[in-house]
């Protein structure tokens, strides 16, 4: 027992505590799970819960756009379809949330495959236009068949996840943690077990070369659409069971652009970037809307944030910060904290240029 504890401690020190990015992630998840212990104020819990759901949504967009390179401008389609499907099953058949959310996610996967079929023939801007158009078509249908979909009001009265607010929060937080970790592992290009991460990188960087190297890109593109749709669908299902409504606002372009905004602000092509972006920007919008002036200018602020991110910090804030606080050892490629002078494993000089300049002086 003590031996195991010691091994665990050594693993923790070597693999987590000495890498700043992982320390931040650890602190973040501990904070996430301790939040209801600190405060049970409904308003804070609500912001945190919605931030979690939207972070899952943004991260699923990142799988498709940041890793597979398929710019999806209508990501709200997956979210909305899943929300509607879950709400429809829940209201009409009275099935509990733990069945309806997977049903919604499966519906989103099917939609993802349908959207993915044009994606096999198109790329770049043309794909973006097609993905943009699907939610617009669906929103038209929602209004036409308003006796089934509830029209502008949407479907309301879905059952809650749990009768207690804190329990709902924990259900959503645990689902989020599992999903984000799964997405992170799925897209990890350095994984020893899954080839998919590095294949998606190849697909994004140069599709023709990837095909020439014998990668069956069609399969992996569709897989990316399905996986992205699945996690967006889970977010949609959680959303409809948390807010107890599935409305056409989830299909609106503005909602899809939110995912884009959060992911790009945090950092494209890194799952954690989307989470960081959402957890910074979504509470910021909520705080702004507390004030009279802030309520009016919050979308102006968001648009300015997006434009200046793209112009001045295209790698995103999470990556920018990580670049500042992490140093890769030039010899053994191990990640170190920025204040170390020598690598923690091989003792190599971390800043060879700086030392050289000092010697010259």
């Amino acid at each position: 027992m003590r031996g195991h504890l010691f091994l665990f401690y050594r693993w923790l020190r070597g693999e987590v505590l000495s890498i700043p990015g992982r320390v931040i992630a650890l602190v973040f998840f501990i904070g996430l799970f301790l939040l209801p212990v600190v405060t049970q104020e409904p308003y804070y819990l609500r912001i945190a819960t919605l931030a979690i759901i939207f972070a899952l949504f943004a991260a699923s967009w990142d799988v498709l756009a940041g890793f597979a390179g398929q710019l999806n401008l209508g990501h709200g389609l997956f979210f909305g379809v899943s929300a509607y499907a879950a709400a429809f099953v829940n209201i009409n058949l009275h099935w509990p949330p733990w069945i309806t959310i997977p049903i919604g996610a499966v519906a989103a996967v099917l939609v993802g495959l349908i959207v993915g079929i044009p994606a096999l023939r198109l790329r770049g801007m043309y794909l973006a236009l097609v993905t943009l158009s699907f939610p617009l078509i669906l929103i038209g249908l929602v209004f036409v068949f308003s006796d089934v979909t509830g029209g502008e009001l949407g479907l309301f009265g879905t059952s809650v996840l749990s009768s207690s607010r804190v329990a709902s929060y924990y259900i959503i937080a645990v689902t989020f943690t599992i999903c984000v970790f799964a997405m992170y592992k799925f897209t990890d290009a350095r994984s020893k077990y899954l080839r998919i991460g590095v294949l998606l990188h190849a697909l994004r960087e140069d599709e023709i070369t990837a095909r020439a190297s014998g990668i069956y890109t069609t399969k992996y593109k569709l897989l990316a659409f399905a996986v992205s749709g699945f996690f967006a669908g889970i977010a949609g299902g959680l959303y409809t069971h948390y807010l107890r409504i599935a409305g056409p606002s989830t299909l609106e372009l503005f909602f899809s652009f939110n995912a884009l905004l959060w992911s790009i602000f945090g950092g494209l092509g890194t799952i954690y970037g989307a989470v960081v972006g959402t957890f910074i920007l979504y509470p910021l919008t909520e705080v702004l809307s507390l004030f009279d002036l802030g309520e009016k200018i919050r979308f102006v602020v968001l648009a300015v944030v997006l434009i200046s991110t793209l112009l001045f910090m295209p790698e995103g804030i999470a990556v920018w910060i990580l670049d500042k606080i992490e140093v890769k050892c030039p010899r053994c490629k191990l990640v170190n904290v920025f204040w170390r002078k020598r690598c923690r494993s091989c003792r190599a000089d971390l800043y060879p240029e700086k030392t050289k300049i000092k010697e010259l002086l």
Partner: protein, 290 residues
């Protein structure tokens, strides 16, 4: 009913053509997918409103003011934003969307969400075979055709036009031939935004003015460019007329059709992309599709 669809489709198509041609121009020359194109159209409509209702100018000076200020705004946006990220198509697209929503929010803050109106060129209507067609509609159609013809003359008969077409075909070779590519981009941006401003003067009195007015025409314009074929300006014009007819047909014939006007254009766009991705008149481009 049939005559209704015929006349309405022609008029709507003419107005869409005016918007689509500016969008297609900047897209085919500079490869900038300017999603903010209809936002410039919206800004121009608001400037006309300011001119007529706030400054109490008559209609034509305010239209001139609108065109001038929108062109300046467009060129400023080109220098400040598009020019810097031109190499990354996605960044251009996303910045354009962000700009459009920025304009929308600023207008929403200044004017509120209320629906405003700008004055017609002419009151009254004429009876064509049992269908009432207002003078404003006829005027809109004629002006659209006139401007399209003028644009065609500029593009095909003048030195500037051949320079623009050269840059559209191959900007690197055009650069080697001594054409200042960046200057051509700025000029094309100005023409494109100017066309958006003119369409605001034409369409503004027909469709009401609100900060959300840029969404619906944007959908049509995107569909028109895809249907006509990227890089083909004539194709965009013809596609705009086709979409005008599709929309009139859906609105008149299908129950609940007024909700589906935009969706119909989107369906047309997806079908075109699936069946003939190069569009009606576009050149077949291998590296764009797989």
């Amino acid at each position: 009913m049939l005559l209704n669809i015929l006349i309405n489709g022609l008029i709507v198509g003419g107005m869409y053509a005016l918007l689509a041609v500016g969008f297609a121009l900047i897209f085919s020359v500079a490869r900038i997918l300017n999603m903010a194109h209809t936002a410039f159209y919206m800004v121009s409509a608001y400037v006309i409103y300011i001119g007529t209702s706030v400054l109490h100018l008559s209609l034509f000076p305010s239209i001139a003011l609108a065109i001038l200020s929108t062109v300046i705004l467009g060129v400023l946006c080109f220098y400040l934003f598009f020019d810097r990220v031109k190499e990354h198509e996605f960044a251009v697209m996303i910045i354009a969307v962000a700009l459009a929503s920025l304009f929308q929010e600023i207008l929403l803050l200044t004017f509120g969400g209320t629906i405003l109106a700008i004055p017609d060129f002419a009151q009254g209507f004429i009876d064509i075979g049992g269908t009432n067609v207002s003078y404003q509609h006829i005027f809109a159609f004629l002006l659209s055709i006139l401007i399209l013809v003028m644009l065609w003359v500029v593009l095909s008969k003048t030195n500037l036009g051949s320079a623009i077409r050269a840059v559209a075909q191959d900007s690197e070779i055009a650069n080697l031939m001594g054409i200042d590519v960046r200057r051509i981009y700025v000029i094309v941006m100005a023409i494109s935004v100017g066309l958006a401003a003119v369409s605001a003067a034409v369409m503004g009195p027909i469709y009401m003015i609100s900060p959300l007015m840029w969404g619906q025409p944007l959908v049509i314009v995107l569909a028109a460019v895809v249907l006509g074929g990227a890089g083909s300006i004539g194709g965009a014009v013809i596609a705009a007329f086709i979409l005008g007819y599709v929309e009139s047909f859906v609105v008149f014939m299908v129950p609940g059709g007024s909700f589906l006007g935009g969706a119909a254009s989107m369906v047309v766009m997806i079908l075109v992309l699936l069946i003939r991705p190069e569009g009606l008149f576009g050149v077949h481009f291998e590296e764009e599709r797989l």
